[in-house]
């Protein structure tokens, strides 16, 4: 190759490099509006058919709703020691809004929010003791949701024994669900016996152990429980599926309408104690985008899912009672967790 042509080639290559660099900075930078939303899960997965999935759907809805052409992406946390790293990955990537899902990420999220005042953070199930301007804790009155489900269970049980198979008591929302559930059952049925079990493991396994959930649900069925509340990710789902195999027994799902997420539970699923996480996350993302998001705690909505196949066994009297309970919870005349 002649020296002249060699120079030409070098020049072309440099030109190519410059063009490529210009292109890449164009795509990744903020000028043309690459508005990105990041979501970090707890040690559960975005397809856990429950908690994390609901938050992820909310993030996608939120991204779709805001005017900027936003993209949402997620990182699944494998081990709890990676919380801070995973959040940092999104910060480094230029995410404008970061959603962290779960009680366990609370501290890491607060640290990240303090270190990155320009990024908006949404912490699902993370109670904020002091309000940071760029961090909203999305909280839910789980006790109310549990209370409503328990109130229905108290009316539906024929053996007067209601059971609950739960994730770990290390996570406050699980405890609120349980206490609300038991108190709700007692509210409509003072003679009811409530039998409840928490998973004995730590945060890393308590929500991903369907075998334990199924075995424990069976144990509760064997001693007379005829309606069981499964609350705890895949662990609770195991309980629901076990109850589905027992003729005449009913089950209650958690977090989202589990009719759609656990089809195996159709033979028993009478309702689900829902936290409208997706709605809450989407709403906070819209607020964060519009710049109206308040720091501190934001309370989302809870409710009971439809009864689907069991619509006919829920009588009008029961519905009236449920309406009364809901009104009582709303105006504060019923306390779902006395004492």
């Amino acid at each position: 190759m002649a020296p002249k042509r060699r120079h030409l080639l070098a020049l072309l290559m440099v030109l190519g490099l410059v063009t490529a660099a210009a292109c890449s900075s164009d795509g990744g930078g903020g000028i043309s509006g690459g508005y990105s939303i990041g979501l970090v899960t707890d040690t559960g997965k975005v397809d856990d058919k429950s908690f994390n999935q609901s938050a992820w759907e909310g993030a996608q809805d939120g991204a779709a709703n805001i005017p900027a052409s936003a993209t949402a992406s997620y990182i699944e946390t494998e081990e709890s020691k990676d919380y801070a790293n995973n959040i940092q990955l999104f910060v480094d990537d230029g995410a404008k809004i970061i959603v962290t899902v779960g009680f366990g990420l609370g501290e890491a999220t607060i640290e990240a929010a303090k270190a990155n005042p320009d990024v908006m953070f949404i912490g699902v199930d993370q109670w904020q003791n002091e309000a940071l301007p760029n961090l909203a804790g999305l909280m839910f009155p789980e006790a109310n949701a549990g209370f409503m489900a328990g109130a229905l269970a108290g009316m539906l049980t024929e053996t007067n024994i209601v059971g609950a198979v739960l994730g770990t008591d290390l996570v406050p929302p699980v405890v609120f669900f349980k206490e609300g559930w038991e108190n709700g059952a007692r509210y409509t049925n003072p003679g009811v016996q409530t039998i409840s079990t928490y998973h004995p493991g730590g945060l890393d396994v308590a929500f991903g152990d369907p075998e334990w959930g199924a075995t424990t649900a069976r144990q509760a069925l064997d001693q007379g429980a005829d309606i069981i509340f499964g609350a705890g990710g895949a662990t609770g789902n195991g309980a629901l599926i076990e109850v589905a195999g027992e003729a005449g027994a009913l089950c209650v799902g958690v977090d989202s309408d589990q009719w759609f997420t656990v089809p195996e539970a159709h033979p028993c699923l009478v309702t689900s104690a829902m936290k409208l996480i997706d709605v809450g996350v989407a709403e906070l993302i819209s607020q964060a985008y519009a710049g109206t998001m308040q720091g501190g705690n934001y309370f989302g909505e809870v409710g009971l899912a439809p009864h689907h196949d069991f619509d006919s066994i829920v009588t009008d009297e029961m519905r009236d009672m449920l309406a009364e309970v809901m009104a009582g919870l709303a105006d504060g005349s019923i306390n779902p967790m006395p004492g």
Binding site: K45, D47, D48, K49, G163, T168, D169, I195, S196, T197, Y198, H199, P200, G201, G202, V205, G208, D209, P210, E211, W212, A214, T215, T216, R218, Q219, A220, D222, Q223, G224, A234, N237, G238, I241, E242, A244, G245, V262, P263, E264
Partner: protein, 330 residues
């Protein structure tokens, strides 16, 4: 086993049965529920322990049982869901277990990779592959295995419900316990297996192909773990979820050591582990003690450490002499 030990064993068993009966008389449904839960939680551990045992008796450590469970559970679930047949799902699960066993053998025996590393590779690969290919919209469609009553036996009080009204894979596991016991201690295959685990050099000199037998045994053992995975997905739970084996593959190793690498010993240990789980559930269900569930959940592990430590100190527990060593034909 020495006659003295045997006497202790019988006395202990008689005492246990007596205590169980007392509780049954006091509260039938609760006792039945706890013991049924015990048997149920023990099945998977027993299968895993048998898998580990056959490997270790042949001189190959298998810490990949967790991965073998998980991979087989995934395949069993997927095939059962696609074909609508629990039986085909189970067969596919066992087949996947055999493949996983063969993979371990290929690495640990064929390529002479460090056995611990080979097992770890299986665990990591299984977690990654099943998580990647898991299709969350897929469900079993058909119900999981249901209980089969064994005729009049199922009507017996307490024992009937606990042992004779079980789903099919649990019966199969009980039968396999007997089969593996006989095979290990009463057959030529068993004698050779124990020989290559204790003194592969000596076994080689009398004409046993050490590597071939290890290959075979680790592969067969994988089939047992494969049955465990099928049990997990199709009988115990009725669906698949990520990382659903939840450490039971490792627990199975503790059960195996606790049970001195014998099938019946391992089953006794598995029942003990299952019992502590069922018991701590019962404590909570009854609301009797206000102790954290994590504390009771920890007890079986503490007991394992104590038992292993005491047996070690008394010199009554020893590993197969060639355990964990690769064999080079000399």
């Amino acid at each position: 086993m020495k006659p003295r030990q045997k006497q202790f064993l019988y006395a202990g068993a008689a005492l246990l049965i007596f205590v169980a009966w007392m509780f049954y008389a006091a509260d039938g449904p609760q006792t039945t529920a706890v013991l049924a839960g015990t048997v149920r939680a023990a099945t998977l551990l027993a299968l895993g322990a048998m898998c580990g045992m056959i490997g270790e008796r042949s001189g190959v450590v298998n810490i990949g049982i967790e991965g073998q469970f998980l991979m087989s559970a995934f395949v069993a679930f997927t095939i059962a869901s696609m074909t609508g047949s629990l039986f085909l799902g189970t067969v596919a699960g066992v087949g996947m277990g055999l493949i996983m066993g063969w993979l371990l053998a290929a690495m640990a025996v064929g390529l002479k990779v460090d056995q611990i590393i080979a097992g770890t590779v299986l665990n990591i690969a299984a977690l990654g592959l099943t998580s990647f290919f898991y299709d969350r919209s897929r469900s079993l469609g058909i119900g999981k295995y249901t209980n089969i009553d064994l005729g009049p036996l199922a009507d017996l009080p307490l024992i009937g419900t606990v042992f004779f009204s079980r789903p099919p894979l649990t019966y199969l596991t009980m039968a396999l316990l007997v089969l593996v016991h006989v095979a290990l201690f009463r057959s030529v295959w068993g004698m050779r297996t124990r020989a290559i685990g204790e003194h592969p050099g000596a076994a080689d000199t009398v004409g046993i192909d050490v590597l071939k037998l290890r290959y075979l045994n680790v592969t067969i053992a994988g089939g047992l773990a494969g049955l465990g995975g099928s049990y997990l997905a199709l009988e115990a739970v009725g669906t698949f979820s990520r990382a659903m084996s939840g450490g039971r593959g490792f627990l199975a190793l503790a059960v195996m050591i606790f049970g001195r690498r014998t099938p019946f010993g391992a089953y006794a240990a598995a029942l003990f582990f299952g019992f502590t789980t069922a018991l701590q559930n019962q404590f909570q269900l009854n609301n009797t003690f206000d102790i954290p569930p994590q504390f009771v959940g920890m007890l079986p592990f503490v007991v394992t450490i104590i038992v292993v430590a005491i047996s070690g100190l008394m010199g009554s527990m020893r590993d197969p002499a060639a355990l964990g060593q690769t064999y080079e034909k000399g």
